[in-house]
Symmetry: C2
Subunit: 272 residues, 2 copies
Amino acid sequence: MFNNNPIGMLDTGVGGLTVLKEALKQLPNETFYYLGDTERCPYGPRPVKQIKEFTWDMVNYLVDKGVKMIVIACNTATAVALEDIRKELTIPVVGVIYPGARAAIKSTKNNRVGVIGTIGTINSEQYELAINTKSLKTDVFGLACPKFVPVVESMEYHSPIAKKVVHNTLKPLKEKNVDTLVLGCTHYPLLREFIQSEMGEDVILIDSGAETVSDVSMLLDYYNISAEPTNETRTHQFYMTGSKRMFEEILNDWLTVEKYGIHRVSITKGNE
Amino acid sequence: MFNNNPIGMLDTGVGGLTVLKEALKQLPNETFYYLGDTERCPYGPRPVKQIKEFTWDMVNYLVDKGVKMIVIACNTATAVALEDIRKELTIPVVGVIYPGARAAIKSTKNNRVGVIGTIGTINSEQYELAINTKSLKTDVFGLACPKFVPVVESMEYHSPIAKKVVHNTLKPLKEKNVDTLVLGCTHYPLLREFIQSEMGEDVILIDSGAETVSDVSMLLDYYNISAEPTNETRTHQFYMTGSKRMFEEILNDWLTVEKYGIHRVSITKGNE
């Protein structure tokens, strides 16, 4: 009844680490294989067809490693490819949009919800769809923030530059009077403080990645594939297509992982 | 991509109404068919074989009505029959134990969790199993409260009798120093005030039924079977095997349902 295979988690870069952080807290028995396509990040501004193709590269890489579940810890990839991937694979596949949408409906009192994300995510209108499927009376205001991911991936997320970018980008959203704002990109929690101070303390920020971990936990139960309980620390693996050093710096700045391996890999077919 | 079929919810009696209340709030677009086996309630003290048989009677009745999902809004039936039912049916089946267990792990800080439930639920040790599968370091203290369900089903849950029963029953749990208590029976939220005051204001009460609604909402997304968004009020149906009058009294005392039908039915084969 137990399944000790790892859970595969993928993102275009380091953003999915915000999901992993929550996963390590809620699911201490599980082993995670994290894949970041840092070499080709960001996906946000790319054409839909290419985002699908790149996402499949990541999914196939993790499936070959024997993962028992796939967590698409990236809003852009979820918006564009989740349905396809879910249809093709026999293992459970979890995305980050529906959990964030559900949390937003639960949170809002004035039925005005903001969503910030990449161009790909915002143009897909998947959050509007997910929210309005559950609640027609909720108005959704989407805003693309194309500068946020590069700021995070270049390790600038604590800097005054980040603060200025956040300030300039969020301006059009401030007059919408939203009481809830979905961080519709897993990179954005790294900019949380700046976003919160820009939007005001009363606005509730929904971390779509953290919400996703509840779905992962639920599906482990639903399919009866939790890992065997242990007092030992699991060894997690990190795979990335770009620089190992940069990735490891953000990893150690953002979360504590006791035992791990880190590997630079190629994920396009025939290249490993 | 929408599915307007009703969601079937079952309980031995009126307890599942605490789950329905939360479901109506979070899922305003959905139609619910609620079945309470009030005639044969309580199930808690019955032998396992009989609980299984009775639960199947309820499930089959709802499946024949064309429901798209089954919510076993009863801890006793979940503990004894969930796995079997999930294996047999092709529609999703949700129980109340795992959601409650997950919420308890999230809530506890001192890793001491109490669980109260019927004799059947406590003897099954399903909460211990569900909690320890996720977190070995959490100690679980179970206590059977066989008098609670009869007090609720007889409409005594606001009375001094209820207060006294709660006081006397919970005594052995008070010395365990738990910081979180799972209401491991969907009838117990109706006794919530007495339970809270008996355990002390610092103890966090987990309503396993309310937590279950998050799973229902998640599975509607996961299987893409949400009902079509509407501004109209849905008409819900209530079926019970015992007195209609008693059921309706508790229904109207506990929640507001604008449009509904109410029917006394027989759920054993060939008797309808």
